[in-house]
Symmetry: C2
Subunit: 262 residues, 2 copies
Amino acid sequence: MAADLDRPVVRAGPITSWAVGGMPEVTSGSDLGQLAMEPLTSSGGLRPWDVVVVTHKVVSKAEGRVFSLTDYEPGPEALALAQELGQEPAMVEAVLRESRRVVRAESGVLITETEHGLVCANSGVDRSNVGGGDWITCLPLDPDGSAERLRQQWLPLAAGGPLGVLISDTFGRPFREGSVNIAIGVAGMPALSDYRGLHDPQGYELHASTIGTADEIASLGELLMGKVDGLPLAVVRGLTWSGREEGSAPLLRQPDRDIFRR
Amino acid sequence: MAADLDRPVVRAGPITSWAVGGMPEVTSGSDLGQLAMEPLTSSGGLRPWDVVVVTHKVVSKAEGRVFSLTDYEPGPEALALAQELGQEPAMVEAVLRESRRVVRAESGVLITETEHGLVCANSGVDRSNVGGGDWITCLPLDPDGSAERLRQQWLPLAAGGPLGVLISDTFGRPFREGSVNIAIGVAGMPALSDYRGLHDPQGYELHASTIGTADEIASLGELLMGKVDGLPLAVVRGLTWSGREEGSAPLLRQPDRDIFRR
């Protein structure tokens, strides 16, 4: 493995981690990276090999991905789906505009594949933590790019890095109750750990062992940030990594490899 | 929320966490709880509100859930499925005996629903970390019971608790590449956090906000324990919780609520 510098692997020693308090309100056009500098510094600072997890909600807000449902005129597909699902037509219209494909529409649930290739409820369009009323947030257009821009801004705080930045969202999942956070944007680190072809301590080859480490780190971020406390950032310390950095793409299963999307 | 003592919620302050080193080899009949006492103590001890994550593999071994494929005589269903999938007939027989239903069998992948109600590849039957050759491990018969027995054994180390114990396994998932750890056994803490009916900081009700916190903690365990280091336990410190404890059952989506199992 020593010679395999391209193999993406995230390793951990003891991990310490915390939510970042004191973030000011983020609105459309806010310089999120700049706004977070002081809170990041005063909550424990950043060091090389830290990972910052950022909820997509503040990224979406800063990037102006906040819209009013009153601006969506539902088309025929949205009207039909809304009636079938018992949902608001303008909301369904917003969801469809953020999607490239409907994966499931039944039992009141609309699962779509977004332009990014994410499969999730309502294309990630969400009404919570955005002021109530008719306001919605949509996912960032380019979460990997958003993560990379924040990483560039925060690198000086981490003595030049390495520094990982993950943009997270809360996704439901088939088979299990309870949503978990996953990484929709990844910068500065590999998204997956790839152990294929390696061997366990007894010498047995580990089959099919790719681990969604960025999703696992995002899930730790959810534990730290919670759902009702308005804490949009967390810092995870104790990881190291090597190998290719390819954004969040390695986490996206391609439809032709996905037996649950057919 | 103060009056709602039944509502399950897991909260976090800063989290510190580490893998437990120095575990002796676990074999069939080992007293896993007893074997782990010294390693747990010397790696940082336990305190009230700690959560210990245990990979199911050592639980399966200690409980004698290790078998040889040579003891499985493939029946007609296993032979047919094995041919269709390009898998070993004895392995498919073992998987079927651990399942109550085949969810998907295609593209070389066998997804089943286990007797516990878990949906996963190969009923959790696994050949890694078990000595190679024809040996397999099957999931513990009652992971919640296993977790509770370990919790009882370890409570004195944690000054009487509260103490959470999670039994984890590594599961693939639809839509996303990379497996993540989830909690197949839960004791001493709620498996889900239920925010339904609560409000975000702007007063908007959080819809459908149940979070699979035990799975997120198990995922942190995966980061700490890795796949090739033979570290079967991790300790997570910094959580608190309240509300009903019902084992891992709240994490299992019932088939009639699951649009991807029909």
